[in-house]
């Protein structure tokens, strides 16, 4: 590492460069077995029970976007990280860093959103903290939430448990959140009716686990870095190949349209209310039925399967019948002319 190196925005994009930061700085600094698992949350054995513990900080521009605001993300995001461990969320914390001058009215609105989201998710925000920094030292409002959840006996989902033959389920249309935020961003001036998909997924997960039990091998919510990055992470930690079929991936026309206009690949845009699951084929139909019974999973579809080879790689059969590699996101996507 060059001593002159600085943190770039790309280090937070969830793609390959973020992974390198994790591998080179964070993992060596805190080295321990629970962290090394690299799941959405850590799994802790406490006197015979298994707890899931997860934390996430939220910063988004704009803070209010079609379909939600930063408050929805902060509650649903951590609820979902717990859910991806197979856990039932028990309680959340919330900590705020506020910029001097941030309108009280906006703060009130965000707190209202968080309260509603927590109520809808059936989980209480039980502790918190507020700090204010001078103007310019933060951008309006940053939120951190942490959560704990209880993993029921017999549930064993983890990103290394994908096996060749598993079918891959996506719980709904891709990239809605990423596109709603992009379209709302100042300066780009696109109008769409696309709404963020922010939603809590723990009930869907409970239904999937009830229907499929141990046949549900992997759960992951493809947030930053998108589906492409999530699938690469699973392929790497499980040592399997992943084959997906472009034409089976649900994509709203408007999302496809904005991606075409800006030269973005929807495989790398964020989702905030979707999950991807690797499921043993014997339980596939029961799990799909459970997902579709949830309002956030109506458009769920099988999008591919895990293979023995090429291990650690993701390949997509394209709509026209060609094949291409799907890599991890290598850096945040920018609107481009080429």
């Amino acid at each position: 590492m060059d001593p002159a190196d600085k943190i770039l925005l790309d280090h937070g994009s969830g793609g390959r460069i973020a992974h390198r930061l994790l591998r080179d700085l964070l993992l060596p600094a805190f080295d321990n077995p629970a962290l090394a698992e690299l799941n959405d949350g850590a799994i802790l054995e406490v006197e015979g029970s298994r707890l899931a513990f997860s934390t996430d900080s939220y910063t988004v521009d704009p803070i209010f976007f079609p379909g939600g605001d930063i408050g929805d993300l902060a509650v649903n995001g951590t609820v979902n990280d717990l859910a991806m461990c197979g856990a039932r969320p028990l309680a959340l914390s919330a900590a705020f860093i506020l910029e001097e001058g941030f309108p009280l009215e906006d703060f009130r609105r965000i707190l209202g959103t968080m309260a509603r989201a927590a109520r809808e998710a059936g989980v209480a925000i039980v502790t918190g903290d507020t700090k204010v920094v001078p103007r310019g030292a933060a951008d309006r409002v940053f939120i951190n939430t942490s959560g704990i959840g209880l993993i029921p006996p017999g549930v064993r989902v983890a990103s290394h448990r994908a096996r060749p033959g598993d079918r891959i389920l996506l719980s709904g249309s891709l990239a809605d959140h990423g596109v709603s935020v992009l379209a709302g961003r100042e300066g780009l001036a696109f109008q769409t009716t696309v709404q963020s998909d922010t939603a809590p997924l723990h009930r869907m997960v409970a239904a999937m686990l009830a229907a499929g039990g141990e046949a549900v091998h992997v759960l992951r919510d493809p947030t930053r870095g998108g589906l492409g990055t999530a699938l690469n992470e699973i392929a790497e930690s499980s040592g399997v190949g992943v084959l997906i079929h472009e034409e089976t991936i649900p994509l709203k026309p408007e999302v496809a349209g904005l991606c075409e206009l800006l030269g973005f690949d929807p495989l790398y845009l964020a989702n905030e209310g979707k999950l991807v699951a690797f499921v043993h084929p014997e339980a596939a139909e029961a799990v799909l039925a459970a997902v579709r019974a949830d309002p956030a999973g109506r458009d769920a579809a099988w999008i591919g399967e895990a293979l023995a080879a090429p291990a650690g790689r993701v390949v997509m059969q394209t709509r026209i019948g060609g094949r291409r590699i799907v890599d991890m996101l290598s850096g945040e996507q920018f609107p481009r002319i080429c």
């Binding site: 109008q191 009716t193 408007e254 496809a256 349209g257 904005l258 075409e260 206009l261 709509r319 080429c338």
Partner: protein, 84 residues
Amino acid sequence: MCLAIPSRIVEIKDRMAVIDVDGVRRECSLLLLEDAAVGDWVIVHAGFAISRIDEEAARETLSLLREAAALAGGAPGGEPPAGE
């Protein structure tokens, strides 16, 4: 070298148009295209319409290809794939 997307003009005011791509709308300049009209399909690059799509030429190209595909015994190539 140049990402440019087929879009439909839904509104024109002065030399600015509102274009629609699959429901996404944006303003787009008509300074580089003469005689554009509402309803036209145009190719948009970096916020400018740079070409009007020649519907006649498009139809010809596609029908020749579809005939060839039908002759080759494949399934008819007429329908765009579902979900597009």
